[in-house]
């Protein structure tokens, strides 16, 4: 029955090609626009660590000015980052399964002169737990071990792009590279890792790609590496120079922990106990206000899904609704124009349900063909938008069309076909044979 209906549907589509093109084109545009904008939103809103994001927490403490709260929309919010001295204290806890304070800095990398001039490469200073904490994929080697954190040993992890530049993509583990005035040994090379949202650091532009190099955090003091991220301060440092900066109330370090499910409260208590202890020395003059925020809640608080993207998705789904209405109208007219033909079929013994099915199949065929064209169009559209990403975020891979989005596109197409087609098909199957036969 279905193959026969499909053949009928194809015949019907071929009969009036211009009309068919308008019908299929309309639904293709609807699918293209809605799939494209849903993909864009999905890229921003997706959970980057679906199997463990509820166990990963961002830590904040209110060490701000006693006279006024940290500036921002919400006066109850502590600073977005913590001070160096507090990070050092938190890292002493043995509650987290994994933990890392971190910041980024722009460091000079000196490639072999044959490869290129010295260049600044954005570098993340972090602890060994950073890589397993965020499921960072490796192509060669691995991260460094806890011993290297303490030294700190002169070890570096390169991202794919930096490794391509320096070593032509070869396995460079155990080779050395010069960063600023020191030699570092490569211990690992990242695999392709380009999340749309730089979820582990959303304190600045969160659409930037991950850093090109990773070195142990504790190089900060011997190499005097200042942060390239935000520094928020309210009080003059207690001394001059870099040491004064490290001892100051300036907040500039991000702190992440992965907690076993049953130790979340214990960790919160640990942080509170630390702050209460510090209050005795005159620090933390504001009311106790520490936050140990689950990852997705933190991303939501930092609004990593741009409002415009959500609005565009809503608009695009309404666009699809217009296309479906349009499809209903056109199919209804087309089917009714065919009523005399249906009259003959009915008179020759076709049941209503046969006629109904024949037309629903035709609608679904239209929707599936339109959907397929729509998916191709949306892939093209995303490629164009990704090109824009080059000026916007110095990257051309912000949005990817993946399996989830293909499933969404197929689902939307079938749904649109069904919603648009049921009424016209029902209407035409109720054609009374007699009246049309009389008019022949």
């Amino acid at each position: 029955m279905v193959p026969y209906n499909l053949r009928l549907a194809l015949l019907s589509l071929r009969r009036n090609r211009i009309l068919s093109a308008v019908i299929v084109g309309g639904i293709a545009l609807g699918i293209a626009v809605s799939t494209m904008f849903s993909t864009m939103r999905h890229a921003f809103a997706r959970d980057p660590l679906p199997h463990k994001s509820d166990r990963v927490f961002y830590v904040r403490m209110d060490s701000w000015d006693p006279l006024k709260p940290y500036p921002g929309d919400d006066p109850n919010r502590p600073p977005t980052q913590i001070t160096y001295q507090d990070m050092v204290a938190l890292m002493r806890s043995d509650i987290p399964a994994r933990q890392s304070g971190m910041y980024k800095s722009n460091l000079y990398l000196f490639p072999d002169p044959a490869v290129g001039r010295p260049r600044k490469v954005m570098t993340r200073l972090c602890f060994s737990d950073f890589f397993p904490l965020f499921d960072v994929p490796f192509k060669y080697g691995s991260g460094w071990d806890k011993k290297a954190d303490q030294g700190p040993e002169q070890v570096v992890v390169l991202d794919e792009e930096t490794n391509d530049l320096l070593f032509g993509g070869q396995n460079s583990v155990a080779k050395t590279v010069r960063i600023e005035d020191r030699e570092f040994k490569v211990v690992g090379v990242l695999d392709h890792w380009r999340p749309t949202v730089k979820f582990y650091d959303v304190t600045q532009s969160y659409v930037q790609p991950p850093e090109g190099m990773y070195i142990p955090f504790n190089h900060l003091r011997p190499m005097q590496i200042r942060t390239n991220g935000n520094t928020d301060g309210w009080k003059s440092p207690p001394g001059p120079g870099f040491d004064g900066f490290l001892a100051s109330e300036t907040s500039w370090v991000q702190m992440w922990v992965e907690l076993p499910k049953d130790r979340v409260q214990a960790y919160k208590d640990y942080v509170d106990a630390y702050v209460i202890e510090q209050k005795k020395t005159g620090r933390f003059p504001r009311p106790l206000n520490n936050r140990v925020t689950p990852m997705m809640a933190w991303l939501k608080e930092q609004k990593t899904v741009p409002d415009e993207v959500t609005t565009m998705m809503i608009v695009s789904l309404l666009f699809l609704a217009v296309c479906a209405l349009n499809l209903t109208g056109l199919l209804l007219s087309k089917f009714l124009a065919r009523a005399p033909e249906i009259g003959v079929r009915r008179a020759l013994g076709a049941r209503r349900v046969d006629v109904f099915l024949q037309h629903v199949v035709e609608c679904e065929l239209v929707a599936v063909v339109g959907g397929a064209i729509g998916v191709l169009l949306s892939i093209g559209g995303l490629a164009v938008i990704n090109k824009w990403g080059q000026t916007l975020a110095q990257r051309n891979d912000l949005f990817r069309f993946d399996g989830t989005m293909l499933a969404v596109a197929v689902g939307l197409s079938l749904l649109a076909g069904l919603v648009a087609g049921v009424y016209p098909a029902w209407r035409v199957c109720r054609t009374a044979p007699a009246i049309h036969l009389k008019l022949q």
């Binding site: 217009v322 296309c323 000026t391 916007l392």
Partner: protein
């Protein structure tokens, strides 16, 4: 033309009429909300900074040669760079400053009017004798900084911060310093009200004081906090091994790209132990407004496609309705109706449908807008936007009906006698 028969005819075809109405109403709701987004984005993009944006070039030197770690070497290099940049053809203003408009941030601090109760957050940047000229703005009240003053103040500040400042009884530095500053009109109003701010004093949390010596009228640099129009400029030559040195150039109109290229070559030729990055402010601004320009383009495309889909839909439905009524049209023509009567009938019929749809659509547009505003903090709809959307769809509806209606008017009366 009688409206009665048209309405009665429509009643016999409720579903199709309903579909057209629903489609146009929904289209209006979408189009108006898209237009609101575009207007919002354009409003942000066209906000004037007060600076000569089109002709400004940013130049940044970041040294890697260890020789730059020495203070004297850094100062020498800075002086040479400034001279070389001033000598470039097409350059009308040169400055060494850490201020860079349209980069989406900068540096800020909190200052309190002396005697005032509360600290006020403001942007703060170092300047030299050429900064205001390089930005293309004027100090309209008071004065800016001379070269000699910048040199002297730089030395004074550097000495002061070279070592730990001895603390007084309150834990703050015992010896205070006084610095002259130029501020924006908006910050002057915030801190001191409407009168002249010249000679008024600000102080920071250490008790150091700042005396206002000049005011710039226009200043707008979007910041993470709502301090876009507040700024304090102080005199200081800024350069370091880690941070490098930053310059702003102002080129003669149309020369920005050429000046940018020449500046890069010149500075690298002067000293190769560093990297030079040049960007025109036009590029920096385009990057800052990347999201807005994407919104404008995509929403524009959605409007065009949507009106196209809806128009084609109207063409299709009207065509069907013409085909279906071929015999009636023939009969009417045979009974004496002129072509123009048939044309009028279809145009009026669609006009009625469109008008009903647009009336409903206005309500729907507001409903969708309320939804968007609550779900994604979008822009509120203005009446002007809705009116523009109504006008657009009225026109599109009429144009889409025209072709099938003309076809209907050409149906020959003879058709009426066939097939009966």
């Amino acid at each position: 033309m009688e409206i009665g028969p048209i309405v009665r005819a429509l009643r016999r075809n409720k579903v199709r009429a309903g579909l057209i109405v629903a489609e146009i109403a929904l289209t209006l709701a979408i189009v108006t909300n898209c237009v609101a987004m575009i207007v919002d984005a354009r409003g942000k993009m066209t906000r004037a900074s007060g600076f000569d944006d089109d002709n400004i070039v940013s130049v940044r030197s970041t040294p890697f040669e260890p020789a730059f770690k020495e203070d004297g070497y850094l100062d020498n290099s800075l002086r040479q760079d400034l001279e070389a940049l001033r000598a470039l053809p097409g350059v009308v203003g040169v400055s060494n400053t850490n201020f860079l408009p349209w980069q989406g941030g900068g540096s800020s601090t909190e200052l309190k009017p002396v005697g005032g109760a509360e600290g006020l957050r403001t942007q703060i940047y170092n300047t030299d004798e050429g900064t205001f000229d390089a930005l293309g703005i004027k100090v309209t009240e008071g004065h800016g900084f001379t070269r000699e003053f910048v040199d002297a103040d730089t030395l004074r500040l550097r000495k002061l911060f070279a070592e730990q400042r001895p603390a007084g009884a309150d834990g703050r530095p015992a010896e205070k310093f006084l610095q002259e500053v130029v501020i924006s009109r908006a910050f002057a109003k915030l801190a001191f009200g409407d009168g002249s701010p010249l000679g008024k004093m600000l102080e920071d949390s250490d008790g150091d004081q700042y005396r206002v010596v000049g005011v710039v009228e226009e200043f707008y640099n979007p910041y993470g906090w709502p301090i876009h129009e507040y700024v304090v400029f102080f005199a200081n030559r800024a350069r370091s091994y880690q941070g490098g040195a930053a310059f702003l150039l102002r080129a003669e109109p149309g020369q920005a790209a050429a000046v940018a290229k020449a500046a890069e070559q010149k500075l690298l030729a002067l000293n190769g132990g560093r990297n030079i990055r040049v960007r025109t402010l036009t590029e920096i601004k385009a990057q800052y407004f990347g999201p807005q320009s994407i919104v404008v383009t995509l929403m524009g495309a959605v409007i065009v496609l949507l009106v196209l889909v809806t128009s084609l839909g109207i063409v299709g439905l009207t065509s069907f309705s013409v085909t279906e009524r071929t015999r009636q049209i023939g009969t009417r023509r045979a009974l004496g109706a002129r072509r123009v009567d048939i044309l009028k009938h279809f145009l009026l019929e669609n006009w009625l449908l469109t008008t009903v749809a647009l009336a409903l659509g206005c309500g729907l547009a507001i409903g969708v807008n309320v939804g968007i505003v609550s779900a994604a903090g979008g822009t509120r709809l203005g009446w002007l936007t809705v009116a523009a959307g109504v006008a657009l769809l009225w026109t599109a509806g009429l144009l889409a009906t025209l072709a099938p209606a003309l076809r209907a008017s050409r149906i020959s009366p003879a058709v009426a006698t066939r097939n009966v």
